[in-house]
Each structure stands twice: as structure tokens, then as C-alpha cells.
């Protein structure tokens, strides 16, 4: 399945995935509150190469808005969110070398 096929938009415009994407790196901030999801994301994106995919696991609802917005501000590609049993997995592709 292509990424395009995997994507579906819900009513709020949030890009949900039917299944997770294979990530090159994964980080877990479950039980951490704002702004740890953004600070960790910023750190971890620096550790991967351009074109690689980072997955960030969080149970913080505010991330649903924050992470796509962070991607848009930083020029990284937001690939979507996979909703697991008790947390979200966000997928981000690094768009440029930092």
C-alpha cells in the first residue's frame, strides 16, 4: 500500500493512517506532557538523515495539533498519525539536513 493510499483525512483534517509506516527511528514520550513531545521531536529529527522517517509515540492529545503544525513550521513532512490501542504514533519524514 502506498502512503497516499494509507492516508485518510478525518473530519477535522487530521491525517490518520490505517496502518503504521516503517520508521527509521522511534522515540517514546508516552506519559510526558506538553511540551516534551515537541522538544523530543526537535532533538530526534536532528539525529536522523534527510529522507528518513521518525516515529514518535505519545498519549498527549495536544500533539494532534502540535506535531503537524511543528512539521509545517520547520519544513518537515508530516506523514500521518496511527492510532494504537492507548497512544498515537506520529510519522515525520525529515525534509532537509539540519
Amino acid at each position: 500500500m502506498s502512503l497516499a493510499e494509507a492516508h485518510q483525512l478525518d473530519n477535522s483534517g487530521i491525517k490518520f493512517l490505517n496502518q503504521p509506516i516503517k520508521a527509521d527511528s522511534e522515540t517514546d514520550v508516552i506519559y510526558m506532557m506538553c511540551p516534551m513531545h515537541l522538544l523530543t521531536l526537535d532533538d530526534k529529527v536532528k539525529e536522523i538523515r534527510k529522507g528518513q522517517v521518525l516515529s514518535i509515540l505519545t498519549d498527549y492529545d495536544g500533539a494532534l495539533e502540535d506535531i503537524p503544525e511543528w512539521c509545517s513550521k520547520t519544513g518537515n513532512e508530516f506523514l500521518g498519525i496511527y492510532e494504537d490501542s492507548d497512544h498515537y504514533k506520529f510519522f515525520i519524514r525529515k525534509a532537509k539536513e539540519s
Binding site: D28, V29, I30, Y31, M32, M33, P35, M36, L39, D86
Partner: protein, 398 residues
């Protein structure tokens, strides 16, 4: 009058190098570590250096260290943080009956929240049987917490053996290493534990600085939410001088630990052999598998408090065991758990040595303690034997 401090398990003086390292962060380098300018950067750098040093003492990675304000906080954090993080997997926790109150009371709190806790018994030396741990594990078990070394009886638990069972069963293991870390070599890799509590004032660092080691990749629910301090896992502006002091104390301890052990062990052995010559005095805890500076006894026919007071009057400072026994005049749950009769548990006394203890101190102690016992027995109503009266026991879980 001589002043001989034999209560190093209660706390320790600051090492002079530790105080020197801390001082600038009270006065000149007072910046908030989160501030985005020079003094803030300096404080941040100092904390991260202390994190490296503290991690190094227990062979952990710096990012696995969360600074807290006390061993009690770290123990609460470990139990509650893991219980809440894993409650969807199961609600069963295993602890021993000889844990510190910060573990036992956290466990009792969690019971009120719907968790089920098994309180494992110990043998007459205070040792947990690893096979009893194995038998207690169920499909619902999410956490085991066993104290590394007892501050009250000195016994060192077989944490490595327990961790092998925990690993085999896929259950997380926490150890309260407050009395052990800084007094014996502690290696989280060798012990294979997932969480470990340790506190700076046990190894000549300041009070108010402690840490919880959390193995990389372990999810834990914070006790204190707020800012981004400690990676969002423990909010609140950091106690920079205390953390710096903990780091410095860890560095010194790593350097001097073997020397300290070689210094205090023979002095401790001297106390034990001399004290056991007194009639009706029993060593509590394991005779060999115990902290190197730790000597603990129960003395028949007299009360621990009376011994402490008379020893203090002669310049020797010691303890009678747990705060429960000394403040609430109740029998120690640890002594009751190792099978000490209630009446005998009242005669508990604990001597713990440190790097400043000298052979002259021990000579003075060995002369003085028998005199104290002899004098108190002369005036003891029990000196002809125990009557049926028994003191109330602490509310240790069955």
C-alpha cells in the same frame, strides 16, 4: 567529651570537596538552568555533569538518571510511576516485608487504588528467597521492588538472582539502593535492574538530592507534572547546588569506595566481635552478606532508646533502627519479620561507621558499650527475665 558518630546510615557529613563544588551555585552561579543566557547555561551544564557522574557511580547512562529530592521520593516515583504506567497490563506488585516505609506505604496507597500487593516474608537473616519471588509472580504482576540493603539490619539482598527471575518472567524490578549505593559497589548492568533509588547524603553528598535510575525505554508516569525539567519526568526548578553536590559526591565515592570499605570493615568486625562477648546480645542481619560498616544488635532486658540516650551522654551517637520503633515506640517491622520476639525487638541498636571513624573511636566504644548495658540492666525491671507484657507491633502487612 569525645564525640563519636556511629549513625552513618542516618546521614553523613558533607565531604569538604563536595561543599566546595556546591558553593558557587548558591552565590555566583545562581542561574535557572532553563534560562537562555549565560548563567542559565552554566547551571544547565553543571546539572548535566552531575548527571554523568551520578550515572557513572552505578554504571548507568546519564539519560537514565532522574534527579529527585530524596530516596523516599524516588521510591514513591518508582512504585506509583510504574504501577500507573503498566496498569493496563496488570495490577499486581511484589515487595518484601523489610522494605523502607516509602515503599511499604506507597504499596498500601496503591492497594487503595485497586492494585494487589504481595508482601514477601524473609528468613532470619532478613533475606528474600528468590524462589519465593518466582512463586509470587502471576500473569498480572507488573513490578517487583526489593530493597538492596537494609539500613536496619545491614543485610544485602540477592538482587542479581531476583533480577534473573524477573527478566525470565518479563516483570520489571526496582531496588531501593539508598543504603547500598555509596557503601558497596553498585552496578545496574550487573544487577540487571530496571529501576534503582539512590541518595546523595548516604555517600557524603548533601541532603535533598537523590535520584531514580530508570532503564532506557521504560515508561513511567511522573509524580510531578509541570515544566520540562528532568525530561518532563520530574517538574520543578532544579536544586542546582544539591545536584552538583550529588555529582561531586558520586565522583569522590567512585574514586574512594574501595578504600572506604577496607577502612571500615575491620573496625565494624571489631565492634561485632567485642559486642557479642557481652551476655545475651544477638547480632541482627546476615553475618557476612551485610553492609561493610554496619553492626546491629538486639540486647536483652533493656530498651534501645535507653541505650541510645546513655551512649549519647557518653558522646556516642547511634540509632535504634527504624523511625517507627524510635519515634512511635513500636516494634520494628523489620525485626519482627526476621523472627525477633516482640520484647527483644525493643532492645534494638544499630551502629554504622564512616570514613571518619577511627580505631580509637572503636576502642572507646568497646569500653563504653558494655558499661552502658551493665548499668541499664542493673535498673531494668526485666533483668530477672521477661514478663508477659508485650509492646504493640508496627502494622506490617501479613
Amino acid at each position: 567529651m569525645k564525640k563519636i558518630y556511629l549513625d552513618h546510615v542516618a546521614t553523613n557529613p558533607l565531604h569538604p570537596e563536595v561543599l566546595d563544588a556546591m558553593m558557587p551555585y548558591f552565590r555566583d552561579d545562581y542561574g535557572n538552568p532553563l534560562s537562555l543566557y549565560g548563567p542559565g547555561f552554566k547551571a544547565r551544564e553543571a546539572i548535566e555533569h552531575a548527571r554523568e557522574s551520578s550515572a557513572s557511580l552505578i554504571n548507568a547512562k546519564a539519560k537514565e538518571i532522574i534527579f529527585t529530592a530524596s530516596g523516599a521520593e524516588s521510591n514513591n516515583f518508582a512504585l506509583k510511576g510504574i504501577a500507573y504506567a503498566l496498569q493496563s497490563k496488570g495490577k499486581h506488585i511484589i515487595v518484601s516485608k523489610v522494605e523502607h516505609h516509602s515503599i511499604l506505604n506507597s504499596a498500601r496507597f496503591l492497594e487503595k487504588q485497586g492494585f494487589v500487593v504481595t508482601y514477601l516474608p524473609v528468613d532470619n537473616y532478613g533475606l528474600v528467597d528468590p524462589e519465593a519471588v518466582r512463586k509470587a509472580i502471576t500473569g498480572e504482576t507488573i513490578l517487583i521492588s526489593i530493597i538492596h540493603a537494609s539500613p536496619e539490619i545491614g543485610t544485602i539482598q540477592p538482587i542479581g538472582e531476583i533480577s534473573r527471575i524477573a527478566r525470565e518472567k518479563g516483570v520489571l524490578l526496582h531496588t531501593d539502593s539508598v543504603a547500598a549505593a555509596g557503601n558497596i559497589p553498585v552496578d545496574v548492568q550487573a544487577l540487571n535492574v530496571d529501576l534503582m533509588t539512590f541518595a546523595a547524603h548516604q555517600f557524603y553528598g548533601p541532603k535533598g538530592a537523590a535520584a531514580l535510575y530508570v532503564k532506557e525505554g521504560t515508561r513511567i508516569v511522573p509524580l510531578i507534572y509541570g515544566g520540562i525539567q528532568e525530561g518532563g519526568r520530574r517538574a520543578g526548578t532544579e536544586n542546582v547546588p544539591a545536584i552538583v553536590g550529588m555529582g561531586k559526591a558520586a565522583e569522590i565515592t567512585k574514586r574512594d569506595l574501595q578504600k572506604r570499605i577496607e577502612h571500615i570493615r575491620p573496625l565494624r568486625d571489631n565492634i561485632i566481635s567485642s559486642t557479642l562477648k557481652i551476655d545475651k546480645v544477638i547480632l541482627t542481619g546476615h553475618p557476612e552478606q551485610r553492609l561493610p560498616g554496619h553492626a546491629s544488635f538486639v540486647v536483652e532486658y533493656i530498651e534501645g532508646e535507653a541505650m541510645l540516650l546513655m551512649l549519647a551522654a557518653k558522646g556516642i551517637y547511634s540509632a535504634s533502627g527504624s523511625a517507627c520503633s524510635s519515634k512511635a515506640l513500636k516494634s520494628s517491622p523489620v525485626l519482627i519479620s526476621i523472627g525477633v520476639p516482640v520484647h527483644l525487638a525493643q532492645g534494638s541498636v544499630v551502629f554504622t561507621l564512616g570514613e571518619g571513624t577511627t580505631s580509637e573511636d572503636i576502642t572507646y566504644f568497646n569500653e563504653t558499650f558494655p558499661q552502658v548495658i551493665s548499668r541499664l540492666r542493673e535498673i531494668s525491671p526485666y533483668s530477672k527475665g521477661w514478663d508477659e507484657t508485650e509492646a504493640p507491633t508496627c502494622t506490617a502487612k501479613k
